[in-house]
Symmetry: D2
Amino acid sequence: MTSASVIRRLLRSVSGGQGTDASGADRHTRKAVTLCRALLSQRGEASGAAIAREVLASYNALQGRALEAFFDALAREFSPDPKEVERAAEAYRMEPTQTELVRLMKVVEPSRQELFRRLNLASGGTAALVEMRRAVLHRLNSHPDWTGIEADLAHLLDSWFNRGFLVLQRIDWSTSALILEKLIQYEAVHAIQGWKDLRRRLQADRRCFAFFHPALPDEPIIFIEVALTRGISDEVQTLLDPESPVTDPSRANCAIFYSITNCQEGLRGISLGSFLIKQVAEILGREFPRLKTFSTLSPVPGFRVWLSDAQEQLAGVPGGASLAKQLRCLDEPDWHTRADLAGALEEPLLHLCAYYLLHAKRDEEPFDPVARFHLGNGARMEKLNWLADTSGPGMERSAGIMVNYVYELDDIERNHEAYANRREIVCAAKFLLLARQCPLARRARPRS
Amino acid sequence: MTSASVIRRLLRSVSGGQGTDASGADRHTRKAVTLCRALLSQRGEASGAAIAREVLASYNALQGRALEAFFDALAREFSPDPKEVERAAEAYRMEPTQTELVRLMKVVEPSRQELFRRLNLASGGTAALVEMRRAVLHRLNSHPDWTGIEADLAHLLDSWFNRGFLVLQRIDWSTSALILEKLIQYEAVHAIQGWKDLRRRLQADRRCFAFFHPALPDEPIIFIEVALTRGISDEVQTLLDPESPVTDPSRANCAIFYSITNCQEGLRGISLGSFLIKQVAEILGREFPRLKTFSTLSPVPGFRVWLSDAQEQLAGVPGGASLAKQLRCLDEPDWHTRADLAGALEEPLLHLCAYYLLHAKRDEEPFDPVARFHLGNGARMEKLNWLADTSGPGMERSAGIMVNYVYELDDIERNHEAYANRREIVCAAKFLLLARQCPLARRARPRS
Amino acid sequence: MTSASVIRRLLRSVSGGQGTDASGADRHTRKAVTLCRALLSQRGEASGAAIAREVLASYNALQGRALEAFFDALAREFSPDPKEVERAAEAYRMEPTQTELVRLMKVVEPSRQELFRRLNLASGGTAALVEMRRAVLHRLNSHPDWTGIEADLAHLLDSWFNRGFLVLQRIDWSTSALILEKLIQYEAVHAIQGWKDLRRRLQADRRCFAFFHPALPDEPIIFIEVALTRGISDEVQTLLDPESPVTDPSRANCAIFYSITNCQEGLRGISLGSFLIKQVAEILGREFPRLKTFSTLSPVPGFRVWLSDAQEQLAGVPGGASLAKQLRCLDEPDWHTRADLAGALEEPLLHLCAYYLLHAKRDEEPFDPVARFHLGNGARMEKLNWLADTSGPGMERSAGIMVNYVYELDDIERNHEAYANRREIVCAAKFLLLARQCPLARRARPRS
Amino acid sequence: MTSASVIRRLLRSVSGGQGTDASGADRHTRKAVTLCRALLSQRGEASGAAIAREVLASYNALQGRALEAFFDALAREFSPDPKEVERAAEAYRMEPTQTELVRLMKVVEPSRQELFRRLNLASGGTAALVEMRRAVLHRLNSHPDWTGIEADLAHLLDSWFNRGFLVLQRIDWSTSALILEKLIQYEAVHAIQGWKDLRRRLQADRRCFAFFHPALPDEPIIFIEVALTRGISDEVQTLLDPESPVTDPSRANCAIFYSITNCQEGLRGISLGSFLIKQVAEILGREFPRLKTFSTLSPVPGFRVWLSDAQEQLAGVPGGASLAKQLRCLDEPDWHTRADLAGALEEPLLHLCAYYLLHAKRDEEPFDPVARFHLGNGARMEKLNWLADTSGPGMERSAGIMVNYVYELDDIERNHEAYANRREIVCAAKFLLLARQCPLARRARPRS
């Protein structure tokens, strides 16, 4: 086919280029950008898939400076012309018709978006764009001018990874090793210790579900792990024990969501967790009519960080100074294994944790990301569990404490609205009691 | 689940409404619009799929005036605020950064788009949106203010039905009756006369391929029918004959694309035909290495219409008057079966047809839609065939003439560029000769 | 590969053969038999699949005399040696150990069975053996010496088509046209009048299920058609009407099995119908908990034949002569459309039919094949329906009468045992009453 | 359903039974046997699947003495009557017609076979019968009277696991963990050390294929592992190294079959390996046209055993005594790592091994089981490789030596015939030279 020859022609024009002193990195960047332009041209219409493949290949070869230069070019060159935008916006203001609106939208949309849509013609295109967004997000802090690239990718991916296009699949021991291996690799909450551990998490009294997208058949987008238990779990090590006996799931009355993992960094912010939890709850409810409670067993990952920052505040309130001193034990290794230390810390830490969950904020929402997620989904904060995760990460981030967030299907919508509109946190009464006992509660108005 | 109760609440607020004189149609429209608003609210976030289902149900119940009122509301209410647009556009002009661009894009995007994306959460959502665009397109002439709705749907569907997400499938006698039935129903070029006719079109010396989208598993998006023959077909009735003997496809040297049909009116303008033809040509080339020629056997559907309109011009050129008189025979039934008539008309009609294909224009492109399509794809206009389609529609639209457009994989890109950039029509030399013999060619400068 | 060359060698040895006066048919037969011998030899072990393909090809080319000669050879040549059999049988009698038994079984088994097993190595082998049995069965009456071939094939096929290897599949409009076309072709009870008729039989208030074998993926083995109705159907034309409105299956309380067809003549006698009915009843019962009654609506295909034969007996009993005279109307065309005739015949025909079903026997079982089948499966004979099938075949064979056989899951086993052990016919009381009113019942002891 | 109640009735009759002193084991055996009888009765016809399930459940509960008693009953009770057999055999001898033959076959076939066929009605029946044969085979030496059971199961399974019903599937990293786990468990030649090892064996330059049976979808029947290499591998540890770099398979010229494993002990003797090797060779040859050589890299598992037994013979031939002395080194741990020892042993061991492979016999076939298998399949013995498998089992059984058996597609049939008819071993000339240098070759006539 000619596509090959056309692409060769294109590339010769690059490699010749303006002077031979162009560095290799420059050449690679120029090659990639030239191919992007070609993909947006008439050639791109006739030979889209072939050129898209070339763009991806040349993009994948970019590294370090060359990659940054490429993104700089994407930000600079494939954006709309401010003059044209002004003109179209003014026209719409003068005559706010649908026709003018459509014109304006066309002017405002960066040609980058069309570029990305055409890149998707290549086999593997969707995966490449997800990866590209990951790369941009990764460096966005130091390159604020890439905001537009990120926004364009986010816009496209949000549209493409619409829940309506995702397929929920149960993951079990019949699933392909290719996918199972990715669970091991991606699991972000309670690391999977090899195949034996994974196998236990897929047995009769466990469930695992993931969303998949047709364009990424072997890539879970997000997955959730569930234990079917009698009574709400208040401690995670038992759940995770690969040697624990398998129980009869038909006798369970609780479904414990003990892990939920977003697999694709490049899809960050494209919220699917809420859909996943609710749909899995419905499926399990149908399969096991005896299930009464759907609850998470979740870490409090921001707790220890907040606690360090709160030392100063603590020093300023009655009783706070001695507590602050006591908290120093948290830095001792394995303090939770020493009964005296653990006993002394239990009460004050639970008070502080309840206070943290209810009152520590970031932009009016809970500072704790897990709390933000489940409360935003309409869950109720139900219970604090002491020494519930004594793994390394559990102790380091959450001081070993875990929370049950309960999903009551009938209340989800009301809870979500209360939270979304008024930032109300729906929780069990006990939480308020615990939080009130925290020394920090004695200050006039809590702030974080 | 509560979703039901919330929706009931929502709907009560509508049916009560301001005054009892609201007609039924009004009430139905208001209900649908209220649900749309709910879908965009916090409730929509918590119970998206449930509300989306309700919107679709209430939308499906709308008819006539109520449906028009609904679209009116969509156009009016879910568009951006011109003031805000102006402000954001001005900010971008002052400071054309990516950050301002992103802000502007957000302001400019109608909330309708988010509405449509959320509608897609309902099962069947994609199909409903395709259908909605069909309904809007159908009435767009009389409702120009719906342009924005159409554009928003087109924008979304163009993104969702990106070639990268489509799956090419061979259609044969193992395909489900559900899908085969749709081929019978959709086929737009040479109507399929029931199952026997269809069966013949799927036998060993025929091929049929379609694009499918994962969200519409039983709906072909576009399909193509191919005959594997020895020599280029110059006549379609033989190809279509259900009684014709099945030949050995491995001995064929030509693949004749004799029909290509876009199935979904709601996807009009989302061009997939070019991808389909090229990919099918590649597949067939691999399966049958002896294939040398990939050609269409296509109608000239705009020819007779143009011919009527051209009578006057014809009258004004030397030799034209007598020809115009002769052409009146075209209105006689079955003229093509009378050897004398057919013999007398052959030459002048072929001249006119060649002239028509080369010189009759609409916006600088060929007036003939089929010519526009294949030339735009990079095909070469190869040959005119006399009395090649003597079916009713073939005689009425194309005066029985058919064209072979040849796809030469090595030339497609060059042809496409020549056409796209300079409107050059690539054709066999014979066409120029034929066209030059047409009386109309004697005028100073051809126009249509 | 060499297989080709070896086979060529084999065949040369045949075509040369003993003298050139061998007719073509002879040559073909000899070729096939030679290949069979090769398949059983060492060559067959090394190149089984290749030789098996050749055997099938040469077998398929046999016709008429040549085919008969081939079967003659199969019967003659591939049977055990009577002497050896006697020796082994005597050894077993002397010393009835398992070891001697195994030896005896090996001697007794004709090498034909191994031949057939090796034929199955060729792709399409299973289908070919089913077809071969059909061909043998077809001619068995005139070739009683082929009994052994038939028995060997039956033995193998019975083992291979064990219910445990069959897969029940629902047939609906999503099924491939390839399979649906076969339903049209095979349906033996109520002929399917093309695709429109078929489509109606697959809609929401109808069900169709078939058994498939993994080695014949596109060939239904046996299929059943069911209507989901309110009340037991007493008339079949309504059920079959392609224009009849589709009703809501969830409101049905009866499942009417109105057609069951064995598709493969070559599997005659390998009884699967009983499994199919019971499994379908279970599936439907689970899907539609409101279903209370599982009943057939069946023809009485042996009734008219028996009736002709019974004329003489009838003449000999009181009241019989006038009845016999009356029955002559049955030969008038469309008698059922004439109210007077139909009215006069209703009562006596129902009496005769009940008498027929209860008392007409063949080898102690009911003479009527449909009665034999359903009673043998454990069904109860429930009801006679007058003018229930007025189609041509319905009138000709069953005098328009149809029977409901009811499958009561709880009684099936008991009914089956009563029938199998004591030939008891389980039926509604009404049947006895009707039969008693038949003039023939007045004879001392009913015989047929 | 009633089946349940019938079965309860059946079982009561057992548990009551003749006297209450029956031990538990007796009761369990009697229950299983009673159910077997029921399965063969009329009840079995009506409720086959249900009773079959019960038989399997009660069979699975049998252990130790109870299981043996059950098999005793199977052998005793479900065999034909010797008297009837004699009568039928005599009838056939008197009149050797097909009809008499069929009668005889029916009499000779033990009712056990029908019992087994009916057991297959239960879901999981096929797997249970495979397992039952394993159990019988396992104890056959001590229970020669179970020969008939074993033969009946073998007969059935041989028919059911006919190559024509098996499906060849490629196994790779997309295969389900359920199946992959079984490869780890079953691999009999070179043990798989966990998932990492397995993963390496499934990468681009390796291939794995297995036969599956439709009734055992998650159970490989037999599988083969292949390495695609440049040059014939003469050493297996490199092939097995999980850390070895993955090479480009399209550049390979050899396919090395380095492991073939029969997974189901219960299918012992049902030879499928030959089919598997040939079909895999064909598939690979098509996928990689550059492949020139298809060779195994195989152990010599009987070598060391034979070597011990041959010490005495060795002592009796010239030069044998000193060699025998030298061979004692083989018992020293890790002798192969000591250059002097290994150097001294290389030549004599290769001579002995060549001699062993060519001349050590059992029933006229090679004593070595692997040699028997590949020579029987038509392979050629190509090359001996020194220190080719230094793993524990490799040293213990094969003294570290491995053999390449080459499959030349064009010669397979000829080789197989030579071997099958005349026990000729086809091998490279070098083998003869090596064997001739073995001291044992100096004896008058080699025997083993």
